[in-house]
Symmetry: C2
Subunit: 276 residues, 2 copies
Amino acid sequence: MELWYTEKQTPNYGITAKIKETLYTATTPFQELAVIDTVEFGRMLVLDGMVQTTIRDEFVYHEMIAHPALTAHPNPKKVAVIGGGDGGVIREVLKHPSVETAVLVEIDEEVIRASQKYLPEIAGALQDPRVEILVTDGIQHIRDTKDEYDVILVDSTEPVGAAVGLFSESFYANIYEALTADGILVAQTESPLFNQQLIQASFAGIQKSFPITRLYVATVFTYPSGLWSFTMGSKKVCPLEVEREDIPALDTKYYNRAVHYGAFQLPNFVKELVVP
Amino acid sequence: MELWYTEKQTPNYGITAKIKETLYTATTPFQELAVIDTVEFGRMLVLDGMVQTTIRDEFVYHEMIAHPALTAHPNPKKVAVIGGGDGGVIREVLKHPSVETAVLVEIDEEVIRASQKYLPEIAGALQDPRVEILVTDGIQHIRDTKDEYDVILVDSTEPVGAAVGLFSESFYANIYEALTADGILVAQTESPLFNQQLIQASFAGIQKSFPITRLYVATVFTYPSGLWSFTMGSKKVCPLEVEREDIPALDTKYYNRAVHYGAFQLPNFVKELVVP
């Protein structure tokens, strides 16, 4: 018997993957969680029926939400990841030697537990002594924090349920306050093909607080449309003005010096979403 | 009743799209052809069960196989498209005012006919007086041609059936001979995730004939993995040495000046395929 997992990424389109087995399912206070083992992409974390990460392609998203900001910031010491309970973004953050503290702010402890058990390649970095784990509401945590983080990375799920507030203007304004003087925010902002209004709203919301706002993209194979967007808000540094020789050679599979600049070179249909 | 079309892009992974109706199917001397109308991507041309192009996302592939070469060449007057019976690449070629003749070399006349009838937005350019249509084997045509074309674009299907020879070293060597002194070749070379050996072999084959060989990528939403590669072989001009102001502002949805350079900035796992 062949079992296939199909994610309807829109009501009328999706991806389908042959599975070896379902490793774990749970109903948490926040969402439906599943870890399935697929033939093509390996183990896959699925929340509310949407693929969050897979062993084979997780490197793209995790590297690309973290490194442009960590590279652009002159000296990132304290970094917060909002969401991201699988630990992949934390792993990338820790590749920057200046980082002394990486705080994971995840609302759903079950995501952390399941990832540590079933996705150790991704979640293993959560054991690092530089990591602090806060199981709490990221919106509340950011509201209560001032002048604390050098970089804040918003690794949210799609804007449904608990994640809706992670795309709001007031959240971005509070992030601005929670950041230090050179602070940089990066938020994942979904597909430029399927989520155009969300990108426009997020960009406008970030732009209200941050003097420098930039959209960039990467290709995440298992995400809707493949093309994925990230929005950066920066208090002082423009990511494109970083000197080439100041971009560190990291142990990465996607990000590099060329990609640091190339990711910001937007196709017309993407650029038109955010440039008037 | 809901009908869904599923393409297994690998034996274990694929895309699935809800369809409104099947508009046309045919068994040609070369392949199985279908035109289906999908809710998410509109009308879709399918050859041997593989999506070739869709109304909604055809612009990415057609622009990105054509414009980097047409821009890099100092004065492209005569251009050949090998394959590409849907006419989308020809349409993009004709956006360059220097082009006097665009020759479509398609082995399967039924692809041209079906595209003209069911995909007029794509195939309409085939009516242009600058277009010559040759229904013949592209491999044979190139073998018989010397010092004729300024740019040759190989818009092939996957390397199965009649298309196998379109990825061979001898074909690339013959293309070199068919090109004029500043000539440039671009071939579509599949997914950097799923077709790594093909990319390596094509790159090596092109490099044997062409002094300048470069790989670049674009995100084609309905193609396997989303990420798609193109390999350029150039006799004289390096595409990255084109001056910014010499890149024309074309009526395009994907390609622009920034993308012209950005597409060549390869993620590590792609770069490693072709850079020793």
